[in-house]
């Protein structure tokens, strides 16, 4: 007869207790506020795929109007930064080995002669293949520079374009192709994993270690209430961390935001369901903080960074790994986040993501409830 009101009272008391602990425990504050702050700045400043000032060396073996004109084009482009200039390529090869430059453009001695005689004139582009991504960019940029030089020359002489077929690129959602615009929204997934999974796993493990779990178990509290009492505060804490990241992303880092706040809130709230569920599951398995933190890092934090499509392309991964990403909840969250920030509320994409996150969350909760019993053995 008094079961229902008592249940509500117990739940409220647990939530109040948990909230007070969060506020007063420096390590919770650290994980919930300082680490996210640190990470968002790291992601904002430290991670960048904008290869727009790649340092290269330029070798011009012979001085003719053609070679000097082409060299000038290389100096002028904003994507490449000519750091070393020489007449003999051997002087720059060491710089390439030491990593002081990322590539070497060589305009050979034969260039002008072949070019003027209508034979194929070659510009040699040597990129440092030890960083394949940068190497591809150097090759693309160098090709673009040579092409533009030819076009300018032809245009100046009134001839027609050297390239009959060309592409006119249009970038949707992120016209300037700034990688920050996609990395920062995605990094919210990493940060919320930190709060949702790592912190939750740690605080439950702490209750076991300090012996408070034993005292709680001897009261009329049910296990469901105990779990729910943990979830509610960390749910709001997760949303708080999200809010902080969004504000910083929009103000300090000027990230584009085209979607609606409501959609953002919805996907974030739904993401917390599997994230918290995973945290609870980990803590049910690992009853000390050492193991819990290891498990949370390996199964939560790292996948949210590596297997979520945040930085690395899921499409390019080998099939077994690609299949693995389907059970990483962050994958769906990153996709929804990038879309709501850069493209807007595209429900055709968001809804399946929400469904997948709910499903994973339901599995985690089912397992967590099954493995948490109100007993010590």
């Amino acid at each position: 007869m008094t079961a229902r009101p008592n249940r509500a009272r117990r739940l409220t008391a647990l939530i109040v207790k948990e909230s007070l602990q969060v506020i007063r425990d420096p390590s919770s504050i650290l994980v919930a506020f300082l680490l996210p702050l640190m990470l968002i700045f790291l992601f904002g400043y430290g991670l960048s795929l904008d290869n727009d000032r790649i340092e290269i060396g330029l070798v011009v073996e012979d001085m003719t109007p053609e070679t000097l004109g082409l060299a000038q084009s290389f100096f002028a482009t904003r994507f490449l930064d000519v750091r070393a200039f020489a007449r003999d390529r051997r002087t720059l090869e060491d710089d390439l080995v030491a990593g002081r430059i990322r590539g070497l453009v060589v305009i050979p001695a034969t260039f002008a002669e072949r070019f003027m005689s209508g034979r194929e004139a070659r510009v040699e582009v040597v990129a440092d293949g030890s960083d394949p991504n940068t190497a591809s960019f150097i090759q693309n940029y160098a090709r673009g520079v040579v092409r533009a030089w030819l076009a300018d020359r032809d245009a100046a002489r009134g001839g027609h374009a050297a390239l009959p077929v060309s592409a006119e690129p249009r970038v949707w959602f992120n016209a300037a192709l700034k990688s920050r615009n996609m990395l920062l929204p995605g990094s919210i997934a990493v940060i919320m994993t930190l709060v949702g999974t790592l912190l939750t796993a740690l605080v439950v493990a702490r209750e076991w270690e300090r012996g408070t779990m034993e005292a709680l178990m001897a009261t009329p509290v049910s296990m469901g209430e105990l779990l729910l009492g943990k979830l509610v505060p960390y749910f709001f804490l997760g949303l708080g961390a999200m809010g902080m990241c969004v504000i910083l992303a929009l103000t300090v880092f000027d990230v584009t935001f085209r979607g609606s706040l409501a959609a953002l809130l919805l996907v974030s709230a739904v993401f917390l369901f599997p994230a918290l569920g995973q945290g609870l599951l980990i803590s049910a398995v690992a009853k000390n903080q050492f193991i819990a933190s290891h498990l949370a890092l390996l199964s939560g934090f790292l996948p949210s960074f590596v297997l979520s499509g945040l930085v690395f392309e899921i499409d390019s991964m080998p099939t077994p790994i690609r299949l693995l990403t389907y059970i990483v909840q962050a994958r769906y969250f990153v996709s929804s986040l990038k879309t709501t920030f850069l493209a807007g509320d595209i429900w055709a994409l968001i809804l399946p993501d929400l469904g997948a996150m709910m499903l994973i969350g339901a599995v985690f909760f089912f397992l967590a409830l099954r493995s948490t019993r109100k007993r010590l053995d």
Binding site: A13, Q21, R24, G211, A215, A218, T219, P220, K374
Partner: protein, 578 residues
């Protein structure tokens, strides 16, 4: 009358260990009484508590709490019991009042009754002026009282207290007992588990556990009565009491003995008449008189008597004759942490071959003092010299002359017994043949051979304690620092431990010990009582007892003396403030 808790044919096994934690256990815990669950560490006390609280399920048999089966109706059981686990179950980040509120809500205490209940419990526990202090900042005794208050909300029918007196000073312990006695008069059933056998005497009923089996159930008096006429006190003004005890324990018919201030106290075998002084090796001036039996006597009798008085460890040690007569000097030792003064101008000195005890309530500053003497803390003012050297600044050579045994078992738990011995011998400069020989000697003396390859952390407590002592004395130190060396250890191991210490002292080793155990304090030559960072009394155990003698307490125990001295100091302080 229906028992509050009925235990039938109980057995509890944990996966991975061959021996059952509890076996063949049947017991009735009567309603409205204090029942003591008594036994050394590892006897199965906590397991039984958890089984009664429904937190563990029995492997066989069953338990009913006021008629409710703990497996079938755990919710009904939880509604009836109050349970204070060993670590009190408090949230350190929450204040006193917030902890109370949390447990009040969880137990469904009526809102209307809350204010009155809180007031009553806060007054009862003396925590009323600390309601906003965080639980983490409370002293051990206060934490324990708060833990008790949390278990008492919505006055439970059955109150389970798991080792509430561990690490708690005599003053707090006494206050706790009076609280529990008050609860009993209100009709609550109390189950109090403890490793202190002297606490058993205060209980109405006792369940005596050893290695998972019930040794005795019934009123403690019944057990004590069996020992009537078998305990004597021997006081010999001419003899060294440690040597006397050693000789007496070798006499046939003497099954146990301890130092009791200036005297020694012996337990005799069944039907053995009190021996003549000369048989004990005492002088003709010795006075022998009967003493009242204790619960511990009966316990040791049940286990077949204590260890003898001979210490092979001491026999293997060379006598220390070198160095000055005064080994430790402490002058105006002061330590401040911020605005808090943990030690305030403490001075004393310790002579060679003396056992010096540091006593004091929790948080009084004796640990701080102890750590400064070992060189683990740098004093704010004053200095501590051991063998003429300041250990904090002296080199390794000086530290090689002391031995140290920490409060908790602080050897390497993941290393085997042999590896621990090898490490500590190496760290203490032993090498070559001498090192191998010393390790072998330690293994023989402490009977470690069967456990050599076992992880030290998995050893039974008694063996852990032996290993810790072995590691502390392997290098034959001049001075031995012992920080609560035997807390939680069973009485037999404690006897054996003190036999070794007594033997070492006879060889000239100086011992500094902190303790909460009054029977351990009795072994000391001199005691220093530390309170609020200051030295408030110093003297032999008998002198301190004498100082506390009064009309209504003609023969005070050391515990009485301890409490009286602290009360007097409190009164002094108040007068000074007024």
């Amino acid at each position: 009358m229906q028992p509050a808790v009925l235990v039938e044919d109980l057995e509890k096994r944990f996966p991975g260990s061959a021996a059952p934690a509890l076996a063949d256990l049947a017991a009735r815990i009567p309603a409205g009484r204090i029942t003591g669950l008594v036994g050394p560490d590892g006897a199965g006390k906590t397991t039984l508590m958890r089984l009664i609280a429904g937190l563990l399920h029995p492997s066989r048999g069953r338990i009913r709490v006021l008629g409710h089966d703990t497996v079938a109706e755990p919710d009904a059981v939880h509604a009836l019991i109050g349970y204070m686990p060993q670590r009190f179950g408090l949230y350190e980040e929450l204040s006193v009042l917030e902890n109370l509120r949390l447990y009040a809500e969880l137990r469904g205490l009526a809102r209307g009754a809350r204010k009155a209940t809180f007031e009553r419990l806060l007054a009862f526990t003396g925590l009323a002026s600390f309601t906003s202090r965080r639980a983490g900042a409370l002293s051990g005794g206060m934490k324990q009282k708060l833990g008790l208050a949390c278990a008492l909300l919505e006055t439970p029918n059955v109150l389970l207290l798991d080792e509430p007196s561990v690490g708690v000073d005599p003053l707090s312990r006494r206050e706790l007992w009076s609280m529990v006695e008050e609860l009993r008069s209100a009709g609550t059933t109390i189950l109090w588990s403890t490793a202190y056998l002297d606490e058993a005497e205060r209980c109405d009923e006792v369940l005596l556990l050893n290695e998972g089996r019930l040794l005795f159930a019934g009123p403690p008096g019944a057990l004590k009565d069996m020992m009537r006429g078998r305990t004597i006190m021997v006081r010999d003004p001419r003899a060294n009491r440690r040597a006397l005890l050693r000789r007496a324990l070798e006499v046939p018919g003497v099954i146990d003995g301890v130092v009791q201030g200036r005297a020694i106290r012996l337990v005799l075998g069944k039907g053995v008449p009190p021996p003549e002084p000369h048989l004990l090796g005492a002088s003709a001036a010795a006075e022998i008189r009967p003493d009242t039996p204790r619960f511990e006597d009966a316990f040791i009798d049940r286990l077949g008597g204590g260890p003898g008085g001979h210490s092979p460890l001491a026999a293997a040690m060379p006598a220390i004759t070198h160095g000055s007569e005064t080994v430790v000097t402490v002058e105006g030792l002061t330590k401040r942490f911020g605005t808090f003064t943990a030690a305030d101008g403490v001075s004393f000195s310790i002579r060679r071959g003396e056992i010096f005890g540091l006593l004091g309530p929790n948080g009084a500053g004796k640990s701080t003092l102890f750590r400064m003497m070992c060189g683990l803390l740098t004093p704010t003012a004053g200095r501590a010299r051991v063998a003429g050297l300041d250990l904090a600044t002296a080199g390794g050579r000086a530290r090689a002359r002391i031995g140290y045994m920490a409060q908790k078992f602080s050897l390497y738990g993941s290393l085997s017994v042999r590896q621990n011995l090898e490490f500590f011998s190496g760290a203490y400069n032993l090498r070559g043949r001498h090192r191998r020989r010393t390790i072998r000697a330690m293994i023989d003396i402490f009977h470690l051979a069967p456990h050599l390859d076992m992880e030290a952390g998995l050893l039974p407590l008694g063996f852990k304690q032996r290993l810790a002592l072995a590691c502390a004395v392997m290098h034959q130190p001049d001075v031995l620092f012992l920080d609560e060396p035997t807390s939680g250890v069973d009485p037999l191991t404690r006897r054996e431990f003190w036999t070794h210490i007594n033997g070492l002292v006879e060889k000239g080793v100086t011992v500094v010990v902190t303790t909460h155990f009054m029977d351990e304090a009795e072994y000391c030559d001199r005691l220093a009582l530390i309170y609020r960072g200051r030295l408030i009394a110093e003297g032999t155990p008998d002198a301190l007892k004498l100082a506390a003698r009064s009309e209504d307490r003609p023969d005070p125990t050391l515990e009485d003396a301890f409490i009286a001295l602290i009360r007097a100091e409190d009164a002094n302080g108040e007068r000074a403030v007024a």
